[in-house]
Amino acid sequence: MEAKPVLIVDDEKNIRLTLSRALEALALETATAVNGEEALSRIREKDFGLVLLDLKMPGMDGMEVLRRLREARPDIKVIIITAHGTIESAVEAMKLGAVDFMQKPFAPKEIRELVRKVLSRDALVAEKAGDYGSHVELAKRAIANRQFDAAQEHVRQAIAADATKPEAFNLLGVLLEMAGNRLEAQKNYRAALALAPGYKPAEENLGRTVGGKGGGFRLGKSEHPPEDEA
């Protein structure tokens, strides 16, 4: 994985050690800081891609570091480290722009999975941002191949690229319905119809889930030939 270095900010030595050890296996370069002030000066010195940030620290706390980081370097991703039972502050931090959080204690595997997930999310956005049509097509293909996680990701990105078209909402509805979440699915079919009244696939999907009629899922016509799938 080609990635920028990771900065670990925690006042507790054991956390810094556990985290840097766990990330060694990902071949990521790591650096540590013991408080908020040190963290900010490190960030000025070096181009970090990700910061693992403890909220509770003496002196400048993690929330303040996060606030300043958002202003100075909104491109740097932040994962929050929280103690058990302090979800509220983690949620607060997510509102401020942290991408995710993890609760102490953590297993090395858990840390690696989260960091990998956050970094690969980054790579995906960079590679294929903005191309609504190909995301919709890739999502359909993924659904056809029963790769639902991949499909979900493509749908999410299609919506992020253009939230005014019905196809992606219809596909999201299909995915939710397949997962057994009928009510949420209907909401998305209706959203698709609200954007484009008379959009056939959504109309049929909605009709089927409401009326209990049979029939397969409607993914919509392939209008945009997909680009390279890899």
Partner: protein, 144 residues
């Protein structure tokens, strides 16, 4: 280092703290659990793991220690019955791949084994060591 394991140690007394110190120094990620906070005083300054204060017979405490993510759970409180119970919960509720409990009473070992819990019995281990020494001494006596 072969592989860094995530190890939960329940009971941070003489045995528990010793294991926690050694395993942490060996590079594993360790969580020590004890209902008495002062027990963590036996952890060495180099111990780089976590501390969770609470009664491990409560499901929430094991969850807090992330037993569900553990590769290995070692149960070493001073009470055989507690050890058996916690070990069973770790196995059944959290599907931990490997669970080992200390049991003082050798008579109980068979029961534990029947319930699928791996055990270490200090009495049996000590007895083996003593018997080994006795048999070494006897063979020396015989050869001279």
């Amino acid at each position: 280092m072969a592989r860094d394991l995530f190890i939960v140690i329940v009971g941070c007394g003489r045995l528990g703290s010793h294991l926690a110190n050694r395993l942490s120094r060996a590079g594993h990620s360790v969580v020590a659990v004890d209902s008495d906070e002062s027990a963590f005083g036996s952890l060495s300054p180099e111990y780089s793991g976590f501390r969770v204060e609470g009664d491990a017979t409560e499901l929430a405490v094991l969850k807090q220690a992330k037993a569900d993510k553990a590769d290995l759970v070692i149960v070493a409180t001073r009470d055989d019955n507690v050890n058996l119970m916690v070990a069973q919960v770790a196995k059944a509720a959290f599907a931990v791949p490997r669970v080992v409990a200390r049991v003082f009473d050798p008579k109980r070992e068979a029961v534990y084994r029947h319930l699928g819990v791996e055990t270490v019995c200090p009495t049996a281990v000590a007895a083996e060591s003593f018997l080994q020494i006795a048999s070494d001494a006897a063979s020396k006596e015989g050869s001279s």
